[in-house]
């Protein structure tokens, strides 16, 4: 039951064609963590690039996902993170995620996107400080 040992803070911003909701990151407020630069992940059939992201416990990860083709999903297994990545030309989606326990967290595409959909996986490696 990995889920019970760590805290995840998630917020989602879909900046669809310049109509991003103002204040969309409000859900981050209250997290006392060190921020790192935004991690940009590109999704396309059937890869996330990069597919390996390293961070340390307590660091707030801002992950921005953008698709190069169809709609994909981004789910971090064992957490509540599960968002839709809009299709090419429809903007991006941002996930804010603050792990509190070290470990390897697998992420995967959660929106069926084609013949190789199940290859779309990656890992967030969270190291102790």
């Amino acid at each position: 039951m990995r889920r019970s040992f760590w805290l995840v803070c998630v917020s989602v911003v879909v900046s669809a064609l310049g109509t991003a909701p103002p204040g969309g990151l409000a859900a981050q407020q209250g997290t006392e963590s060190k921020a790192e630069p935004v991690v940009r992940i590109r999704a396309e059939r059937f890869t996330f690039t990069p597919s390996e992201v390293r961070t340390t416990v307590g660091t707030r990860l801002d992950i921005e996902l953008k698709s190069d083709d169809t709609v994909h999903g981004f789910r971090i297994i064992g957490t509540d993170v599960n968002v839709e990545v809009p299709k090419r030309g429809k903007g991006s989606v941002r996930v804010v995620f603050t792990p509190t326990t070290p470990g390897r967290y697998t992420f995967e595409c959660s929106h069926t996107c084609g013949a190789g959909h199940s290859f779309m996986r990656g890992v967030i490696i969270v190291e102790a400080k």
Partner: protein, 338 residues
């Protein structure tokens, strides 16, 4: 889904509801997945006597142990080349798949098997499967390996094939890979003899902003072709003239001339292909030069939505025969994904 209109020179055009694909996925748990892909091909054909077919292209279970090691079992796509595992129509230029991905890599190529796959480091991916082999009895001079697929249908498993692919996907926009396939593909013959088939392939695909470049090269070797040609010739009355070496490749450049417009994207492309299914013959056999082909394909794709592609292309096919003229063709296609 793909709907095609093909108009070769000298003959009537043909309308074809080429593919209708249903993809089903099911998550039993975080570690066990099912993927199924059902295709109706050529549902409607005009001018030819080809019948439609209903095909199960994928039906496998994935047991996901870790990022580096997972097990797959069932009916699966062969991990060879650019298009076989990534065949959704909006993701490739051109109405028809390249000749290389038709004759030498017989897409959509799937067989029953079991194997491992995974990813290590920052983007090194591998897959290695043991599967049912091709059936060499159905290889031809023109279409190479194409008709040899057993497609998981009452498959002869008297022999096994092994296939593997190593791929690097760690640089944004770049995918490079090498694939091999090797199998003993003669099992219908009495007295028994082997037809070892080896395929080696390399490919690269790079996209940056509006630009997309692709390259692919394949070499196939078929062993014991004199025995194979002789045995098939005695069965069907015509010597199939299967070559001992076949090779081919293509280079393609595409550019989105319009990107992000309110009405969608427009891309143009050019592709040069070379395929020779009669490259080297066994002693005593002559190559049929009409199957040493090159093609220039130029065309455009209009994407009103990222998942809908209206495509057209003009294909200028040439061959090395002095008497048989290769026809040019105009092709129109509509493909979509949902």
């Amino acid at each position: 889904m793909e709907f095609h209109y093909n108009k070769p020179e000298f003959v009537d055009g043909e309308l074809d509801f080429h593919r209708f694909v249903l993809l089903v996925t099911h998550r039993y748990s975080d570690r066990i997945r099912f993927v199924g892909e059902l295709e109706v091909a050529h549902a409607f054909v005009e001018g030819l006597e080809e019948a439609g077919e209903l095909e199960l292209e994928q039906a496998y279970l994935d047991f996901l142990f870790s990022r580096g090691l997972n097990i797959r079992a069932g009916l699966m796509l062969m991990p060879v080349g650019i298009i076989n595992e990534r065949h959704e129509p909006p993701v490739f230029y051109g109405v028809e798949r390249p000749l290389v991905d038709t004759a030498l890599i017989p897409t959509t190529w799937f067989e029953i098997g079991v194997g491992v796959h995974g990813e290590v480091g920052r983007g090194w991916r591998y897959r290695a499967f043991l599967t049912a082999p091709l059936d060499a009895e159905r290889f031809t001079a023109e279409d190479g390996l194409r008709d040899g697929r057993q497609k998981g249908s009452r498959t002869n498993a008297g022999r096994l094939a092994a296939t593997a692919r190593l791929e690097y996907v760690g640089t944004p926009g770049l995918t490079t890979g090498v694939s091999v396939w090797t199998g003993r593909s003669g099992f219908q013959f009495r007295p028994r003899f082997d037809v070892p088939v080896h395929l080696i392939e390399a490919d690269a695909r790079y996209s940056f902003d509006r630009l997309e470049l692709r390259a692919e090269a394949v070499q196939v070797s078929v062993g014991n072709t004199p025995d194979l040609n002789d045995a098939v010739g005695r069965t069907i009355g015509i010597d199939p003239n299967v070559a001992k070496t076949m090779r081919g490749g293509y280079l393609e450049a595409g550019y989105r001339v319009v990107s992000g417009a309110r009405f969608g994207d427009i891309g143009a492309f050019v592709r040069y292909e070379s395929v020779d299914t009669q490259h080297r013959m066994a002693d005593g056999y002559l190559p049929l030069r009409e199957f040493d082909r090159t093609a220039w394909v130029v065309g455009a794709t209009y994407w009103p939505d990222a998942d809908i592609a209206l495509k057209f292309d003009y294909t200028m096919l040439r061959n090395r025969s002095v008497s048989i003229v290769a026809p040019n063709s105009f092709n129109l296609g509509l493909g979509w994904w949902f």
